[in-house]
Symmetry: C2
Subunit: 111 residues, 2 copies
DNA sequence: TTGATTTATTGCAATATTACGATAAATGAA
DNA sequence: TTCATTTATCGTAATATTGCAATAAATCAA
């Protein structure tokens, strides 16, 4: 990503950026939406639901897991991936607060 | 970013990924938070509030604008940047719906 | 017009991301 | 143990991102 100067920003800002970055790809959005759509989280068939090769999907899953957006349990030969509720909640709170902040503002000056 | 196969995902998935990607950098998070924190949107001093050189900030602003997260009006020598309310609302709705979906789920099977 | 101020663009080096073939590792079944 | 199945890792090519110095462009003031 080039030489991101992360040390110059707050921990909270870096964490939120990392969380959003983990979701900032259509394949990872699709994975999360698929996990949200299935009722149980036995998810050995994620690869079949995505238009990407298995190593690519595995890499995206790894990124989502590293960011704490999903979690995975070994389940025999398969692996069971599920949404990590807390991560989604964090983003929901962040955008809800931001949306509230903007509504309470007086923006009539120029825009 | 390598060769993202965007054509294989839905328009909605690509749009959400693009919106999140635009925010997925601490500098851009910081810019949006700064714009949220000032009451009027006369914002010629964004550069002074960020630990980055002026061309770098300008580039981040361009990205945010291209994604529709902020809008800018020429205001004499300065430029007035403001939050685009609709973009934030989109993300808020997306995560609120996702969070609701996960709460209504039966995840007891394995995670 | 000239100069000062502010923002945008260009060009480039350093690094990160994406995708996938090949292959490895892990597990259960026979 | 051997085989089949599933997921992870490695290696690599193609492309994208980040940051900044240098410079351009735009606007206002004098």
């Amino acid at each position: 990503m080039g030489v991101s100067k992360t040390e110059n920003f707050s921990k909270r800002q870096n964490e939120m950026a990392a969380l959003l970055k983990a979701l900032a790809h259509p394949a990872r959005i699709a994975i999360v939406e698929y996990l949200l759509s299935v009722d149980t989280c036995i998810c050995g068939d994620i690869v079949d639901h995505l238009p990407l090769a298995q190593p690519t999907v595995s890499q995206h899953l790894k990124e989502l897991k590293a960011a704490g957006i999903i979690k995975g349990n070994v389940e025999g030969t398969a692996i069971c991936y599920c949404i990590e509720e807390k991560a989604l909640a964090k983003m929901q709170v962040y955008f809800t607060q931001s949306a509230e902040k903007i509504k309470s503002k007086n923006q009539s000056k120029c825009c």
